[in-house]
Subunit: 309 residues, 2 copies
């Protein structure tokens, strides 16, 4: 094993993409520097700004929450309890323990408490792809909490691997709209919608996991039981095999897209109007959340039960 | 094995991407239809037009030559004999035998006869990547033959796999200029330069090989000994593994790029001037061919020895 490039101490990781090895202390320093660099480069947050972090209990969102607090941001957590048995119980406990240990604010929104149904049931009744239903529901509920509690920015734990796989998927399908909107900082497009930022885009999932382990941050290692055989996994495998042969490929590909490729795709601004049922901003007459909930036999106007701790 | 979708006869191939199986006769018909479709869609050739086919002796260029003749085009071959030992001897013989059997015209241009050096030597003396040197030299010599013999269009055997791998490579590096110019029909940009067309872009290498075998077309199966570990091979592997999981991926990716993605990349037209040495169109003061040949200690103005048969 190579020695740490900073202090020549024993290394815990050897990053092929940047050809650098780090000891525990200097890896943590490196990790935080990468987060700070992404925040600065894409103008995600002002110094010490308040931000709502979407936390699932997995390694990425937990590492993100910790990193934002460590960098001095007022980072509060929002956890949506999907009610998927032990998986969700474990996820929620991890978020609650982290908040208690770090004295951070955490909002928990439980699907069962609010709607009397869990995510499996909602997915089953809508007869749609689970990741897509779950994403729509979580994004909608997050926006409600943002409005209730007065946040301006939401941060999510999407990492280098997630973004590279998404980019490849969008390119394979030539999804021009998605390509134009794939950026680590999406400004608010409506007074009721927050800006969305992804501060982990410079770091891979191996690195977020190591960061958690080294800092003693608890996380749930299990994959979501509803997300089987997602095509994004095929893209990740593929990119990893390229990265193996040509280290640095992911970063060159993704950052090259953001620096140069993306400007080629023009984002046609869409007009947002109020949903005919709930009044939230949408491009359709009735927003996707309301339509999904109606299909699932749930009143979309049910007031979400948010616990604050 | 499934039965032929046309005649229910015994099938020789099952194409997952289009979910169709074909017998020998109907596969050949399908193959020619795909070539005709590409020619029509990208307006490559007028009916019965004269075209110069760059033939290496490999499966792609031999299948292309045969297909163009079968579709009624006046397709003449041009083979550049690189002088790489048995590999080149075999390649040349295959082209010569095909021309003799089909009564087609073939031009052979031998590097040894013209310059007294073979491709290995030229590559070694220029200290450049072999595929890049070889490509430059062949393209230049092809243009000379085109001018001498009065052709307007050159066809090459690039297939679906080649083009998909090239597209992925150009995207991974965000080569905007290359992206703008990756198209199966590049019109002439100068009175001395031919249009360039790629009629095999709808067909994969498995299909070109099968076409040759079924029609009894001889080809050299060996890879060029100078082209080891080309990165395009890594991209091909990667795309093949995706295609395996999601049949039709290659076609959706490539045709989607041509139909929609490519328009996003603007090709900045470059001004062509005459090379200070040879007078051929170039963007530089002295063209790359002349510079390479000078570096290899060869007079770039040497008159090429073209044999016609």
């Amino acid at each position: 094993m190579r020695r740490c490039v900073k202090c020549k101490g024993e290394s815990v990781i050897n990053l092929k993409s940047t050809n650098a090895a780090f000891c525990q202390e200097h890896f943590i320093e490196y990790f935080l520097r990468q987060v700070a660099r992404a925040i600065k480069k894409y103008k995600m947050l002002a110094e010490g700004q308040q931000v709502l972090v979407a936390v699932s209990g997995g390694k990425d969102s937990m590492a993100l929450w910790d990193a934002l607090l460590s960098l001095g941001y007022r980072a509060d957590g929002l956890h949506v309890d999907l009610g998927i048995g032990e998986y969700s119980e474990g996820s929620r406990l991890i978020c609650e323990r982290f908040a208690a240990n770090r004295g951070a604010r955490l909002y928990v929104l439980s699907l069962m408490d609010t709607y009397g149904s869990n995510m499996q049931e909602i997915v089953r009744r809508t007869r749609r792809v689970s990741c897509s239903v779950c994403g729509t529901v979580k994004r909608y509920l997050m926006n409600l909490v943002v409005q209730q509690k007065g946040y301006r920015v939401v941060a999510t734990g999407h990492n280098l691997d997630d973004e590279t796989a998404a980019l490849l998927g969008n390119l394979f399908g030539w999804q021009e709209g998605y390509l134009a909107r794939q950026y680590p900082h999406l400004p608010s497009t409506h007074a009721r919608l927050p800006a969305r930022v992804k501060p982990l885009v410079r770091l891979g999932e191996m690195e977020t996991e190591l960061y958690c382990r080294l800092k003693g941050i608890e996380f749930l290692a299990d994959d979501c039981p509803l997300a089987r055989g997602a095509t994004s996994l095929a893209y990740k495998e593929l990119i990893n095999s390229l990265e193996e042969k040509m280290p640095g490929t992911k970063q060159r590909f993704l950052f090259g897209f953001w620096d140069r490729g993306r400007r080629s795709f023009i984002d046609t601004p869409v007009e947002l109007k109020g949903c005919s049922l709930c009044g939230q901003p949408t491009t359709a007459d009735t927003c996707l959340f309301c339509r999904l909930m109606q299909k699932a036999g749930i009143d979309p106007l049910t007031q979400p039960q948010v616990q604050e701790m």
